[in-house]
């Protein structure tokens, strides 16, 4: 797994090698992250199932000058509570379907 420098991506070796990288901003019920700002917290959820074969591998919160990345396992819930650092973008990576994002 790479956090590909300079790009808002969390990708696998294969994806990186294949250069098949694309961020999907179109709404997808199962993949597009949803978020809620509660006080100083940013609550991110992905309406996606989690199994060994098909799961969300990472959630990335991009803010003005950096990224917070949390990598998930198949037995994790596909949501995370970040420290809110201003508006930006939220990305998630599905091991089968790629990267989905939403702008805050």
């Amino acid at each position: 797994m790479y956090f590909y420098e300079g790009k808002e991506l969390v990708v696998s070796d294969k994806e990186l090698k294949d250069n098949a990288l694309k961020v999907n901003y179109e709404f997808n019920e199962k993949h597009t992250p949803s978020f809620e700002i509660v006080g100083d917290k940013l609550l991110v959820k992905v309406n996606h199932g989690m199994s060994e074969e098909h799961y969300i591998t990472a959630i990335v919160y991009k803010y003005e000058n950096g990224y917070d990345v949390v990598r998930l396992n198949a037995n994790d819930e596909p949501n995370w509570e970040f420290e809110y650092k201003g508006n930006g973008e939220i990305f998630e990576h599905c091991n089968l379907h790629g990267i989905f994002a939403i702008k805050m």
Partner: protein, 315 residues
Amino acid sequence: MDRIERYNLDIMQQWNEFKQNLNEYKSNGDVSKVVKLIDIIEQNNIQPEIQLIEGRDWLVFHGVGNTREIRVYPVVTSFCNQLVIEEETHSKVVDRTITSYSFSFVMGLRLIKESVVNSFVSDGEIEYMLCEGERYFSDCNKLGFQYHGKKLLFKCGKLIYVDGRLINKNSIYLPTDMEVACDREILANVDFKTSEEEYGVYGVHESMLINPDTANGAVVIYDKDDKTSLCFPLFYDEKRLINVHSFISNDLLQFPVIAKCGVDIQALNYDGHSTKELGEFLKKRRTIAKSLVKAEYDTQVTEGLTNAQMLLLEF
């Protein structure tokens, strides 16, 4: 929350720019040493971006020159062969940038793999492409050292130090027992700026080098105002205290003092992004050392002792 990895875009961008500069320089000139170093970094899977995750125990930096600063952050707590290299570029001169890098990289890599640096040793000396030397080291562009009890040589302008022996009255003097204290991992840097007219205006120059394997290292501070250079060899003890041996020498007062003190590096809240606290700490130590030096110097001079003699003072 501890699973969060945090990446700083500014630093990542700097790192990318740095690599881009390197590539440009590769195509324009002979930078075999630089290329080699970079290759080594990459071959060893040193990924600076990855190492910028917060919450680790970043410790030290290596600053070079007044036009930029390159910081090398060994991960001391895990003693692993990892470096973080942060660039703060204030110059667009590629040559200068590259040569500073080469210097820092040699010094930094030397800390993690002696064989790396050995590959740059020829005839017992390491030659650095010190573009900074055009200004800093106008009389000589060499800076060398060797390892494990071998001779340590700085040959830059007025300063030459060899194997514990003071060669020049303006030299920084690294005594033998300091080598022992540093597990013979003498790491030193020097500034030889003797006047603003000659060398331009400089602030306090700070350099720190740490061996991740032994957690030993040294820090050097130069202050243009009083033309004082200090070298603080550092080493960890079992309680994670850094013992600081410092000594001082300057143009007017050629009397080195070794001062011993302790500081918990954690107490410095040293986050790896600022040298201010450490600098302040060292300045205080210098002030104390200077007063001690002066007092002892006056005393010793009256007794006819030479400036090669040292005092061991306990803070």
